[in-house]
């Protein structure tokens, strides 16, 4: 369908929302660094990655306005992430079972 000018009223968040998200991102960064100092073994890196995922989620949803885009955009992002994830998983299905060298 051809659309002409779009009114972006729905894309307009207040300045405040963005600053709040920014504070959350900074805090999460701080937590990641703090946790890294403590050695939980494999859990440390898992925690770091989970926090990174949460930060990315916030950037995607709020800063990149995914929250106000149509469901098509969200589906697209899902597809892309899924492709990457499945490639990772399938690749490791090989590497986790290797008996090389």
């Amino acid at each position: 369908m051809e659309h002409n000018q779009e009114v972006h009223a729905e894309h307009s968040h207040g300045y405040g929302v963005y600053i709040l998200v920014w504070l959350a991102l900074m805090s999460l960064t701080g937590i990641t660094v703090a946790v890294a100092g403590i050695n939980f073994g494999g859990l440390t890196i898992a925690t770091a990655l989970i926090i990174a995922a949460i930060k990315s989620f916030l950037v995607l949803k709020i800063f990149m306005h995914l929250r106000s885009e149509s469901v098509t955009f969200r589906a697209f992002v899902g597809v892309a992430i899924l492709f990457l994830l499945i490639s990772f998983i399938l690749l490791f299905s090989d590497y986790s079972f290797i008996v090389r060298n």
Binding site: Y15, V33, A48, A52, V59, F63, M64, T72, S87, L91
Partner: protein
Amino acid sequence: MSSQEQAAAAHVHRDDVGARMGMWLFLFTELILFGGMFILYSVYRYMHPDSFHLAAKELNTIVGTFNTAILLTSSLTMVLAITAIQRKQKALSIFFQLITIVLALGFMVNKYFEWTAKFHHGIYPGSDTLLAKPTGEILFFGLYYVMTGLHGLHVIIGVILIGMMARLTSKEIINSNSYVKLESAGLYWHLVDIIWIFLFPLFYLIT
């Protein structure tokens, strides 16, 4: 459905949603480009966990954290620039765009110092110091340089892009009724930020 009576000239076709859609699709390609390198990282880290731990100690966590903060803030200023232009606050929007650029350049300056410090210690691809280290460490630094290097290249591209947007905003080509270009530049910039969000813990915080 004849419309032969309409003698009006064809008006310019504009599709902001389509423009954003195209930019998102392009961002996926960037995501996957870096994703390929993350795949490399994860396999080699799986194979050489201890060497990766050791090598990561060479990196300065404070500088890395500082850079992360810089980039996150630059994402904020970028999205504030968009809100500003939506509210017809042209000067404020340009201001935020310029701050974004300054922050990005600050990031690159830090990166420059990090890299040169390493070169100074003899740690660079092909150096004897590096080649004398265990293979896991060689791989770590290879990945470090390539991944942060390519990321840095994308930061520079972002700086140029945002600079162009700032100019368009000052000329009011980007204005409160037509700002999809700024949004698209913003999307690009946020992706650069997201990539760093993952790079940071994987290189700096695995000690």
